[in-house]
Symmetry: C2
Subunit: 221 residues, 2 copies
Amino acid sequence: MSKAAKTSEQILRAAEKLFSEKGFEATSLREITQSADVNLASVNYHFGSKKGLIQAVVERYQRVFMPALSAELKRLEDQGNVSTEGIVQCFVGPLAALEQVCAGGAEIYLKLLGYGYSEIQGHLRKFTMQRFGDVVQHAFRLFQTANPSFATETLFWRLHFALGTVLFAQVSARALIEIAKADFADPNPEAYMMQRLLAYVAAGISAPEATFLSTTRSKVV
Amino acid sequence: MSKAAKTSEQILRAAEKLFSEKGFEATSLREITQSADVNLASVNYHFGSKKGLIQAVVERYQRVFMPALSAELKRLEDQGNVSTEGIVQCFVGPLAALEQVCAGGAEIYLKLLGYGYSEIQGHLRKFTMQRFGDVVQHAFRLFQTANPSFATETLFWRLHFALGTVLFAQVSARALIEIAKADFADPNPEAYMMQRLLAYVAAGISAPEATFLSTTRSKVV
DNA sequence: GTCATATTCAAACACCTGTTTAAAACAAGG
DNA sequence: CCTTGTTTTAAACAGGTGTTTGAATATGAC
């Protein structure tokens, strides 16, 4: 491995760790370079800017996750029987595959997305869509076939709610897990958290449409 | 109104607006004081520190919201027939009541909470619990009576997922609404967003327990 | 009006941020 | 070996942050 590749790698490793812990904006380049045991200026040398570093960090995960997700979705579609829960379960494997990138990769990736969506308003979304829009749209189409009676609009909202649920849960996962450990004497809450999450999300996505909405529509502006 | 009360008020108004737009950490005291047309040092004079200002801003909303929520919950309990959807609907009125505090108060309050939960890790949660823990616990108890078969643990996780759904949705509401307007020619998506959200959340909370979880348990981790 | 208190104000403080510079160290091909 | 190009380094840059200071100004009670 060349020296250049080595420092880039060290920077990426340190950055993804710190970013996932504290968010992008709250993490300084000096923290990253100190943690990576590397000169401050090398971030700008190798990645151009902090923004470039953020993109590089996220992209490395996207390039593993998105193709894996795409494959899972295709597999599900081919085998017929497309259900909301089935689609949601398609995300589990690709997330687990992120362990290749680094230990705890799934957790890191989701936290990165969470911070990316709330901090760098829109940037990450746009970047993801133009790079992996086809995968996202494929997933959306499958959700539509699983819930054929739903208006496109309803599904749009619910899927974004679901995204929000997962990302927020992941960002505050550590705090929640600690509370769960203290309050319920659950020795290993993180093990099933993702499954709990997906069950909740699947139910929310495929909730009966409109009845609840239409009965109270007039009351609320 | 004394001069002191006037400047505090101006600071609070400007702060809540900017905080809800950009988050706590991304908003500087200089932005706030310029927007409030007030001297920089007056923030520290009146609120001690930036942290003090954040607390003051949030507290003003909590003191309106929490008692209103408490009343709604009592009302629901007294009239019997406690359902998940019913409890969730209890939040609508108290949120609307925040318009008293200022225009768009509900939106601002939820965004403040959203940023508070993801930025000042734990601080806001602790503060809320020690000040309004009784209301939170009352809500939790009602959710338990609405879903008597659920393990306390299950409800704990789902309610926090629900909180995350609502807060994340609110923080990214503006972006979502713009997309909805562009993609679906919906002239007024914000009108029903909260109802869409609550329907999703209620379904997620009262999803059938464990069947989904237990069938896939062995596969994960 | 006077006095004590409460509030405002401009300036400075100490520290942190991302980025740039120019010299130094290193690498590899001729 | 020397030269060319790449990479590392320490230092400085320009600008932003929350907070403190001490003098100036208002305020309100006697």
